[in-house]
Symmetry: C2
Subunit: 411 residues, 2 copies
């Protein structure tokens, strides 16, 4: 009956036409869009124009003629629409690591005298490294408190907490946390919240303004499909912008950049979160990629994402039973991002065997198979095909082929 269900779900899918906004290779089911999103159809022409006409022909004049100077804030606003941020609060540029460092340090400076940074022991590694680095530079203790325990810690000793730095979606298990509740708990304690949206932006409706978020960052190359290493974004709530006091003070964030003053005077508004010259070819690709979201309702994206992940779980229940898998991702839709992770002791060769058959997911040590679901370009038929292939490589033992031992791919 799974085939029939897939067909029915796909027939009733209002987002099905969006698949045409992406160029996907034939014979591939791509479940790694939570690591590197697929190529949006609008990108190649935009990049070609950027290379030939903008760079090659108009050269330095493109800063004005083609809006290069405004691109970080313009593209930031385009992302803002997807994360519940009114214009003027989101800026694009530099890597996620840099944005994390720059905004987390600035956030901590807004709560002087509070000696604690909270972060998640299950946070993506860079988030933890950066929290430790910021803690060391500012003389703060970094305490690792799991997301589900953070509200209790904030209630008990929140008056000592400067910033709580969390992600709404666990990058390994896909578990979704309650952003509004954690934000409220931090604010009740007088602390600030710093969100890493890498595994949420573009896949779920986010409501940064509505929940009163303080700071957030996220990457451009996962669900947003901005291309490999697409620049990251940073969100600064309007109310914090005038006091945003960041460490990586590049001239693009200066109030009068062309005055070439030797003293840093931060620009007003979100512009002060700009750093240096952004990687424009990558940034222009990201901006073009975001047009895939034109006219798309993020609530509809969420509905379809839950349908895809829920269907994956149903298929796994039926087809993978007794094959050594366990479900790592919550079944409760309110606690599930747009990703499903399975545990299996042979995760690594299983993912390699799947990839060899054109079903692309990834793995995380030691035992996690990760499958990401971008509702803009995936169907329920894709989901069913993927689980059937996973069953096939498991029951046939195809995953034991020594030729499949390649290095893990990159998140």
């Amino acid at each position: 009956m799974l085939t029939q269900r897939a067909t029915e779900l796909d027939s009733a899918d209002p987002l099905a036409p969006l698949r045409d906004r992406f160029t996907l290779p034939k014979g591939v089911v791509y479940l790694d869009g939570n690591s590197l999103g697929a190529l949006p159809t609008a990108v190649p022409a935009a990049v070609e124009d950027a290379v030939h006409r903008q760079w090659g022909t108009d050269l330095i004049r493109s800063w004005n003629a083609h809006g290069w100077w405004e691109a970080p804030v313009r593209t930031g606003d385009a992302i803002g629409r997807l994360i519940g941020a009114a214009p003027g609060q989101t800026v694009v540029g530099d890597s996620t690591s840099v944005q994390l460092f720059n905004t987390l340090l600035a956030a901590a400076r807004l709560r002087p005298g509070r000696p604690l940074l909270l972060t998640d022991p299950d946070h993506f590694p860079t988030d933890q490294y950066v929290a430790d680095s910021v803690g060391r530079l500012l003389g703060l203790e970094v305490r690792r408190v799991p997301a589900r325990e953070a509200a209790a810690v904030l209630a008990a000793e929140g008056d000592r907490v400067a910033v709580a730095a969390y992600a709404p979606v666990d990058y390994r298990t896909g578990e979704l946390y309650d952003m509004a509740a954690l934000t409220a708990a931090a604010h009740a304690a007088g602390a600030l919240v710093h969100w890493d949206l890498c595994h949420a932006a573009g896949a779920l409706p986010l409501h940064l303004d509505a929940i009163g978020a303080d700071f957030a960052v996220g990457c451009g190359y996962k669900y947003l499909s901005g291309g490999p290493g697409a620049p990251a974004f940073a969100y600064l709530a309007h109310r914090h912008q005038a006091d945003f006091d960041h460490p990586v003070t590049g001239w693009h964030g200066h109030a009068e950049p062309f005055a070439m003053s030797g003293t840093y005077t931060p620009a007003p508004g979100i512009t002060r979160a700009r750093i240096g010259t952004p990687p424009l070819l990558s940034l222009i690709a990201l901006e073009a990629a975001l047009t895939a979201y034109e006219g798309v309702d993020m609530e509809a994206v969420r509905t379809k994402g839950l349908s895809l992940t829920g269907f994956f779980q149903d298929c796994a229940d039926e087809l993978l039973d007794g094959l050594g898998f366990t479900m790592a991702t919550p079944r409760d839709p309110e606690r599930r991002g747009s990703q499903v992770a399975l545990r299996h002791p042979e995760a690594y060769p299983l993912v390699a065997a799947l990839t060899a058959r054109g079903v692309i997911g990834d793995m995380r040590a030691p035992d996690l198979l990760r499958f990401g679901f971008n509702p803009l370009y995936l169907s329920h038929a894709d989901v069913l095909h993927a689980v059937r292939e996973l069953r096939e490589v498991t029951v046939t033992g195809a995953y034991r082929d020594p030729a499949l031992q390649e290095r893990p791919t990159v998140t």
Copy 2:
């Protein structure tokens, strides 16, 4: 006689064939390659391949299949050959601002107990802002000492100096400083030297290893012609790598990135200076751009650069006499980078008028006209044409056209 000299110089130019390695728009003389280098001919195909085949078709597998993971160090080594750095000391990624911050802070940590950072009051603004930021974070005093006085200050109170942060070429005047002498003066005092090579890399032979440089950064989009906002590079001398203790600790610099550990253990070698996922489209463009230097002797580049800038000065002497210009760039070849700057009270509209005639330079407030000379794609005929056009817009008053008042371009 200037026409004849230009013809003779170009006829004898061994680098003249390199112009074919660049795509330049017809009717343009491009003297702003010190701000955004021209498009190398090898780039468009490389970027198209990166978009269609690597991203679009091979997707996440490209991290392995197309060498994405190794690109920052591989491209770093390609730049290393141009700056006198043996392999394994140069890495590419993130913006110049970020690389400046990350390496300057790490450098200062190597000299604990020394309370001073020296930097140049004529340094590019970001360099000064970043020095101030690092000083604030580490509790150091930032003292602005002009490059030509730095050796004396180092001799007098160098035992209090942690790091001297300078550029070999003044970004406004094009004046060239003696890197070896300043490095030696710093080392004699037990201090470290941090070099910003933005206005030197690719234009001059640099000898980082030979002069014993400690740290350096530079951008990829000026003389290196890597494209708008091309990622920057950082150089860490081998002897400092094991103790390099930097603040922006991204997972790409981890000893075992795929172990996804929550504790930062820096990788050995130059890899520890990696930060996060680099902007790969921009990075691949830069890597392709660097092939323009294949087989090119940097000493020959220097010889031609001095010939171009010297000829520009000669043409200016003859054609601009009495028109209100003064020469801001030293005439001594040993003190001149690959750039010539003129002062004129109407610098801004003059540059705009020149641009309207297809001679592209730029200006820096309040009164500087800047002309950069990339020896790979410019000829002496270009130089003569540019000065003649500058004379023309000046004597005819063409620069007074109100339509020419556009915003200055970006360095």
